[in-house]
């Protein structure tokens, strides 16, 4: 958690995606044109959110089985940072949609699904802060977290891919993007995958900082400074 190398690696990967992402060759797509490059920046925000929610989920499971409060604190801090990335993903998605789909919000299934996911996790934060006893707060929060995490998959993946949606990779996508966007363009994948890894690492780094601060807070409260 304190090592330097993976943080420097993350910065290099993202710098690579900034430099190469603007200058590499991208497929010509109707209506989307150069903004397809947003793929390198908007999508990693969501993927980082999902990774951090996964870690939050794992820590919730660990808390339920081991009953050590540190797992509960990890779970809540991962959820907080995950929500931060979700907000960035939502904002950048609405900005992108405004210029390619005509309006920032189209009630697109993936948009509403991801908004619902974020509401679920905001509710998680409210829930754990409403219960005063730490162990009780941890237990009830962990159970809720598990349900929330599992719900994320139908909301963001399963239902949108089954319904008519503007997002690529879903049934009936208009605007020229099909589900072979990720599968076929090598030039884009060469920038996209490193960008995702870079942002994963940044998301983890920010989470570790939050977690370390939380531990300091808990220590101070417990020893009544």
């Amino acid at each position: 958690m304190r090592k330097l190398w993976w943080k420097v690696l993350a910065i290099l990967l993202i710098l690579y995606s900034i430099v190469w992402g603007f200058t590499n060759k991208v497929p010509e797509l109707y209506l989307i044109y150069e903004s397809i490059r947003n793929l390198y920046y908007h999508v990693p925000m969501w993927m980082t959110m999902m990774l951090l929610f996964l870690f939050s989920f794992i820590n919730s499971l660990l808390f339920l089985s081991k009953q050590d409060l540190k797992w509960h604190y990890n779970a809540s801090e991962f959820a907080k940072v995950g929500l931060f990335f979700g907000c960035l993903g939502m904002a950048t998605g609405m900005e992108w949609a405004n210029f390619t789909w005509g309006q920032p919000w189209s009630n697109d299934p993936k948009q509403t699904g991801s908004a619902l996911t974020m509401l679920i996790y905001f509710a998680y934060l409210v829930l754990i802060s409403s219960v005063k006893n730490p162990k009780k707060s941890g237990t009830i929060g962990a159970v809720y977290n598990i349900f929330g995490f599992v719900l994320m998959f139908p909301l963001i993946y399963i239902l949108p891919s089954m319904s008519e949606s503007l997002h690529p990779g879903t049934g009936g996508a208009e605007g020229g993007l099909g589900s072979n966007l990720f599968a076929s363009d090598l030039n884009m994948r060469l920038v996209f995958y490193p960008a995702v890894i870079g942002w994963f690492l940044i998301g983890i780094w920010i989470s570790t900082l939050f977690i370390r601060l939380k531990r300091i807070q808990v220590k101070l409260i417990n020893s009544d400074f």
Binding site: I18, V19, I216, K219
Partner: protein, 61 residues
């Protein structure tokens, strides 16, 4: 430099290889700006990490 890499990896044509900021529709400037912002934010993260380290020493975590 960037332009020569782009040329060798078949991303741009021969005519576009001029100065970094003059060619490619001055996209080089955008790259510079974004890199600056990004590096600035990363430096902020490093500073935060250092302060947390100091706090951890103080509290004995």
């Amino acid at each position: 430099m960037l332009n020569h890499i782009l040329l060798l990896t078949n991303q741009i044509n021969e005519e576009e290889v001029t100065g970094l900021f003059q060619s490619n529709g001055k996209i080089g400037v955008v790259i510079l700006v974004l890199s600056t912002i990004f590096l600035g934010l990363m430096i902020a993260l490093f500073i935060m990490e250092r302060r947390i380290k100091k706090l951890e020493k103080k509290v004995g975590a």
